[in-house]
Each structure stands twice: as C-alpha cells, then as structure tokens.
Symmetry: C2
Subunit: 131 residues, 2 copies
DNA sequence: TATTGTTATACTCTATAACTATA
DNA sequence: TATAGTTATAGAGTATAACAATA
C-alpha cells in the first residue's frame, strides 16, 4: 500500500525534524523557489499543491525570517513576486548539508540497489504529484 | 530532494481524497491492524509512528464507525486490544479496489520502467520509516 | 466582471502534560 | 513506582468563504 507507507514515512521525518528551526512545508517552498526562480504567490501555491491562503501563511513566516522577499510584478500590480534572499539560499544550503545526516544514516539500512531505486524515484514521485 | 517530493505527493493524495468517508490516517491504521492482527493501542500507535494520544482519537473514530472493536487483554487489564471488525475488513477491501482507480489512471503518465520502479518502492519506504 | 492575493474562520492532525487505572 | 491509555489543551497545517485591489 503506497499511500499509508508515504504517510508513515512523512510522520517519521516530521518527528525527526521536530526540533528544527524551519518546518518541512517552509523548506519545501524554499526549494521550489530556488528551482523556479522568483514566481508569483499563486504559482508557488500551485507548485506546492496547496491553496493560496495556505501559501500566504507560509510566505509570511518565511518573509518574517528574511528568507524570502516580496517584489512587485513589472506590469500587474495584483501579483506579488516571491524571491529567495541570500539568507534563504544560505539556509537552504545548510539544510541540504545537514538534511541527510539523518537520511544517509538511515540509508545505511538499505541495500545498494534500494538506494539507487530511491534516487531514481524522486522524479517519478514528482510526476505522480502533478495534476 | 526526497522529503519535499514526499510532502507534495502526500498533499496531492490528500486533496484527491478530500471527499472520501475515511481519512488517510484512519485508513493507514486499519491497514496496519489487518497486517498485524489484534494488537494493543500502544503498539498500533508505534506502528503508525504517532504518539498514544493521537492514536486514541483515531481508534475512537474507527470504533464509532464500527470498523474496529476494543477487546480486553487476557492478563493485563491496563491494555486495550484493538481488532478489525468485519465491517472494517469490508471497508478496507472496497478502499483497495477504488484506491487505484486514481493511482492507476495516474500511472498512465509514467513509463513502463517507472511503473516497475514504483512497485518496488513501498518496502523501501517502510524500511526508511522504521525507528 | 474576472483574477490575485489576503483576511477570517474552522477543522484535522499532531504533540506534550496531567490524570486514572492497573501492574 | 512504573506502565497503558485517556483527557485536556495547544500549535501546525490545511481548507473554504468573503473581501480588497487591480485588470
């Protein structure tokens, strides 16, 4: 059963991150921003598969920490463009370095074949998550 | 990035299930119960990677729907043994039949190789989720 | 009128702390 | 005293509905 397994692994990861400074949702949004470059709040919500009001909250907390900034859209004053700041990029890098201290240690319980499988599956998961 | 991908796929699945009668967490607990047979509330919490109070709530809602029942532990009166009822088993079967109407349709966007990879993924995720 | 984003509000999921009953 | 489970309470995370500003 794929879905329960995903759920339980997500819980394990969340528990393990309980003492971290940034939540999984905030980190995921930062990662999407880095990948996409500056995009509108609505586009970011869509990337993250959440509704706009949910993204408003995530953006507010990231902005408060100085990890992203709001910029004006060049022609459409309704839109708010969200951009990663230098601090955001720095935090993303440091999270990346520490992220898999845990995951890599956990990887040691897997066989080499299982590890390869997992690496190849990330893009497949993203494809499944698409609308 | 594995963790954000897991998070986004979980969100997609949750959105898709928004109109279902049973939540993902309840379904996952039922599945664990079927796999393990009757076990104590604490053991079930541990299987599901949640704290005991969280499991208390899940069990209460499942019991109210008649999907599980509480049984006395043969020797230890503190423990509560949770067992799947016939209704619970029936619901689990019907969820299994419908679950992949969605997932299989989603599978059509994948290549044959990607589909094969995905089938092997579940046990690897479970291994990663272990303590 | 339609779209983008925010505010207001509520519900679900989860946790920790305190409590009860039993070992 | 220690353990299993529940109750009380609180904090994320998410959604829908209503609103404001702009197109």
């Amino acid at each position: 059963m794929l879905r329960p397994s995903l759920l339980r692994l997500t819980r394990t990861i969340r528990n393990q991150r309980a003492d971290m400074s940034i939540t999984l949702g905030q980190l995921s949004a930062l990662g999407s921003l880095e990948k996409s470059g500056p995009i509108s709040a609505g586009e970011l919500a869509s990337c993250e598969r959440v509704q706009p009001p949910s993204m408003t909250k995530v953006i507010a907390s990231l902005e408060q920490r100085g990890l992203v900034r709001r910029e004006a859209h060049p022609t459409d004053k309704r839109q708010v463009i969200i951009a990663l700041t230098d601090s955001g990029r720095t935090l993303l890098d440091s999270e990346r370095r520490s992220r898999d201290a845990w995951l890599l240690q956990r990887f040691s319980s897997l066989t080499a074949a299982e590890r390869m499988l997992l690496l190849e599956l990330v893009p497949v998961l993203d494809k499944l998550a698409e609308l």
